[in-house]
Structures are given as structure tokens and as C-alpha cells.
Symmetry: C3
Subunit: 228 residues, 3 copies
């Protein structure tokens, strides 16, 4: 722990926030019509997904919230959410884009969370915990705000598993002497690849499937079939 | 930033807590019968609405939680919630009271949040973010505790917009040299007036409408119309 | 407040985490089949219940999160959740075990929360608030993650009342000169006994009843009774 305090470069943190914002807005845009999510609602979700991971990370570490120290975080999140919303019509057909973005976002937030925790001096196990919470926290907040079942509890286990695997690889390789940057890159790759493989292996999109199931359940209960 | 650290006077903070407690209890009392919210449930919601904004503000600022430093916050919130519950029968008919109280509460929490953030030295954009989170945070927690759709996502956009407008006015006028107190008062007025105008312009109450809609949906699904 | 800083012994904190983890996993296992909670979901709930109370406590106190300072917290929570899951088939028939564990867990988290707050120098009222939030916080998070109605709002009032009673006894006896350890033990006993008596007095299990009611409501709405 004699290395200097790890500082996530602003551009890298903003990249995660921006990708999260785009992904969140794309996800939320899929609900326009069903749940009457207005434009502001989509922007709120994009912002929550983009900024949630970093906020949760720093709350758990009890350090100054990096997200609050610069004008750029919120501006990036909102701009990314607007971009995601504008591109939703195009991207919605390419569901692969949402999933791929998502895999990179949880990889980035997991790697940032675990490496910042290790740099601050936390033991390996809580450092992994911080990384996983940072990785999945944005999506948990998203689901709570949207009134959806929390994805990581039901169909999204792959989520938490992928995040945890990457964070464990990061913490272990750091414990065995790898420099933090290299360990973080390894962790990012592990999380992203596991998440992508999990989705490919399932062929369809786990989260989307869950949403359809929900929709069907609602329709079933509100349109009773009557046979005289 | 050479001005002395901004300290929100205790009476002002308690005023916001008290108004929030009354408003939360009035809101929650409207559900007795439908959702079997008992008396303690109403008090919990009043307390959550009264204290939530200040807690979220100070968590985001990573400072000592003001709400935890004095006996008066919780006592005020609980007393206000009890008052709101007792007066619910009278006030429930005057829905305007709930809406008006609410407009003042989000104005107060928004102004306190943004001005405390600016006083601590945060840049303008995150200061606005803290103010908006403080303003709407209590209602988000309320909705999560009550199992309602998060209002700011659906019908309550006016909420977040009103809060953001006031906080932006505050931050901008402070940036252009206005004293923090004057800027805070301007922000409070802007938020409250926009919120009230938004409700008047819509004639009916956005949140209440959402609740009725929900109630109707439940009835529709549980009382199927059968034509032999 | 001249006594040395109160430090909750690691074994005691881990005991609360472990019992919470077992209880959370037992609770969550009851839903397998109905809500398709997979194994990881059960472990997540166990971890959330085991670690939630301590995290909320330290966030409210704005101190270093004890749960993040040692490898043992997460390891204990996960191991306890796995144990709870494995034993669920046996214990589920003994619902009393879930309720009894739960009573002890809220007693422990309430006592730890209030006494740590008092040791740090918080006034009595917020110290009680921290204790109650630590006691019920894990179950609130559990309900949000599982998409259940927040128990303390509906059938679980006994919960918050029992926690508050124990924390008030703790704070009062400390204010009247009792050593913190003795006060904490008194608070723990009061909470646990009230909670157990409340359940016994109701004969059936409040939370389970709520879940059955929910299940029945869903069935009612999806299987309309048709009389030609």
C-alpha cells in the first residue's frame, strides 16, 4: 500500500458516466408508451445510471464524492442521456448496443470501485464489495425509480456474477503484485467478456425478457377472458 | 468563496422539516383504508418526508449530518407528522393545502441544498444537483416506502423541473455576485411559484390523479366485468 | 461523554451480521418458485439483511464504515446466507426460527446503532433514530430488492415500535448514568422481548400473513370467477 493514492483520471470517470447515461436513456426510452415515461423521466434515468455507480462507491468509501467535485459529471450524464434518447429510435432495434454498452459500463464501474477502494487501503474483500455495488448500483437505482423488479434479483444474476468475477480478478492480481492499473484493466475485461458471453449464451436479452413477462402478466389480469 | 461558511439557521431547517412532516402525513393519510396504512405508517412517512431532504443533502456533501446533531429534528418531524395526521380529515378536503405545502417544502429544501453546497465550495452544477436531490429526495423515499410509482418519474416531472429552476436561479445569481441569502430566497420563490403555477395550469392535482389512476387499475383487475 | 470511544467488538458485530444473513436467506428462500428467486438472489438478500444495518448506521453517523474495514463482514454475511439457504427446507417449517432470529437481529442492530451514536456524542433523540434505522434498515432494503411492500409500513409496525422501545430504553438508561454496555444489553433485551411478544400475541406471523395476502390478491385478479 506504499503506492501513491490512486486517482481515477477525470476522462475515464466521465467516460463511464457518459456510457452509463446513454445506456440508461436507451433502456428507459423502451418504455415510452407503456409506462408514460416522459422526456424528463428518460433524462432522470440516464442521469441515475450514469452517476449512481460513482456516488455509491464514494459513499461506501466515506470519501469526498468525486461526482460532486466537478461540473462535468452532471453535464456529461445529462448530455449522454439526451443523446441516448435521441438515438433511441435507431438503437432500440439494435438491442445488442444496449447490452454491449451495459457490459462495458458495469466493467468500468466495477474496476474503478475496486481499485479506488484498494488504493485507499481497504482489505480485498470489502474492495470487491465496493466494486460490485458500484457496478450494479446504478441499475438497482434505475429499477427502483422505474418501479421495475430489481433486475439483479431475478434475471440479472449474470450481472452481479460478472461484476464480482472482474472485481475478484482485480483484487487478486493486485494482491499478487500486479500494478493497480494493469489489474483494473484485467478486471474490466473479465467483467465485460463474462457479461457479453452470458448474454450471447442465453441468445435473447435477459432483461428484456423479464419486462415482456411483466407486461404479459399485467395484460392477463386486466383483460379477463370470459366464456359464457 | 471568501464569505464565511453558510450555516442554515436551525429554525429555518426545522421549518422545512416541520412543513415536510405535515405534508407527508397529510399525503399518507389519504391512503388509510385502501392500503391499510396504520397510524405508525403515517408517522413514518411524515418523518421520512420531513427528514429525507436534509439527510440526502448532507450525504451528498459528505459532511456531518445536520439532522443528527440536534434533538429537535426528529421531534419536529414526528410532532409535525402527528399534527398532519390529526388535521388530515379537515385538510384532505382542501387538497390545495397539500399541494401548496409541498411547493414550499421543495422550494426550501432546494434552496438549502444548493446554498449549503455553494457555501462548502462545490461548483455550480453539482450544487444544483444537490439542491434538486434534497428537494425531491423526500418524495422519492416516500414513494419507495409506500410502494407507489416514484412520482418524479411519471406525473411529477413538474416537481423536478420546478426544483431545478429554483436551484439554477440560486446558483446563477450567486455566481453573478448576489449574496447567498438573497440568492436562496430568489431560488425558493422561483421553485414554489413554478410548482404552484404548474399545478394551477393543470387545474387538477398531478399526484392525486396518478393515485386515482392506480386505484382504478386495481379495481378493474379485481372486479372483472362479466357479460353472460 | 468523557468515556472512551465505544467500539463494538468485532465478534459482536459479526454475530449480528451472521444472524441477519441467516435470517435474510431463510426469508428469501420462502419465495423460490413463486418469484423465481435464484440461488444468487437468496445470497444477495442474506447479504443485504446482514450488512444493511451496519452500513446505514455508519452512513448516518458519517464515520468510516466499519463493514468496509475488515474482510470478515462480507465473508460472514455470504457464509451465513449460504447456511440459511441450505437449512431453509428444515427451518421453513419452523417459522418460529425466522421470527426469533429476526427479533434478535433487530435488537442487536438497534443496540449497536444507538450506543455507537451515543459514544460518538450524538444527542439522545438522533441516537435513537440511528438505532431504529440500523434495526429496520436491512429489512427495508430487503423489501425494496425483492419488490415486496415495505414491511414496516404495513404489517410490520411492531418492528419499528419494538426497535424504538429498545433504543429509547438504551438512551434513557445511559442518560441516567448506566454504563453504555449495560444500557445496550437492556435495549437489546427490550427490543427482542417486545418483538417476540408482539408476534406471540398475534399468534400468526405478521410478515408471512402479509405475503399470503399478497399472493391471494394476485390469484384473485388473474383467475376471475365467472358465473354465466
Amino acid at each position: 500500500m506504499t503506492e501513491p493514492l490512486f486517482l481515477i483520471p477525470l476522462w475515464a470517470d466521465l467516460l463511464a458516466v457518459g456510457l452509463g447515461g446513454v445506456q440508461g436513456a436507451l433502456f428507459a426510452s423502451g418504455f415510452v408508451g407503456q409506462r408514460r415515461l416522459d422526456l424528463l423521466g428518460v433524462v432522470i434515468i440516464g442521469t441515475v445510471v450514469g452517476m449512481g455507480g460513482g456516488l455509491i462507491r464514494d459513499l461506501l468509501l466515506n470519501v469526498e464524492l468525486a461526482t460532486m467535485q466537478s461540473n462535468w459529471y452532471l453535464l456529461t450524464a445529462v448530455a449522454a442521456a439526451l443523446l441516448g434518447m435521441l438515438l433511441a429510435n435507431t438503437f432500440q432495434r439494435l438491442n445488442a448496443v444496449i447490452v454491449a454498452l451495459d457490459a462495458v459500463v458495469i466493467g468500468l464501474f466495477g474496476a474503478f470501485g475496486t481499485s479506488k477502494a484498494l488504493a485507499i487501503g481497504l482489505p480485498e474483500v470489502p474492495a470487491v464489495f465496493v466494486g460490485v455495488c458500484a457496478a450494479v448500483g446504478g441499475s438497482v437505482l434505475r429499477d427502483v425509480f422505474m418501479g421495475l423488479p430489481v433486475a439483479i434479483m431475478h434475471v440479472g444474476s449474470l450481472y452481479a456474477v460478472a461484476a464480482a468475477a472482474g472485481c475478484v480478478v482485480l483484487a487478486l492480481s493486485h494482491a499478487f503484485g500486479a500494478p493497480l492499473l494493469a489489474a483494473a484493466i484485467a478486471g474490466l475485461i473479465v467483467t465485460t467478456v463474462i457479461r457479453l458471453l452470458a448474454v450471447l449464451f442465453d441468445i435473447s436479452l435477459p432483461e428484456q425478457r423479464a419486462l415482456y413477462r411483466r407486461k404479459v402478466a399485467v395484460e392477463t389480469s386486466s383483460i379477463p377472458i370470459v366464456r359464457p
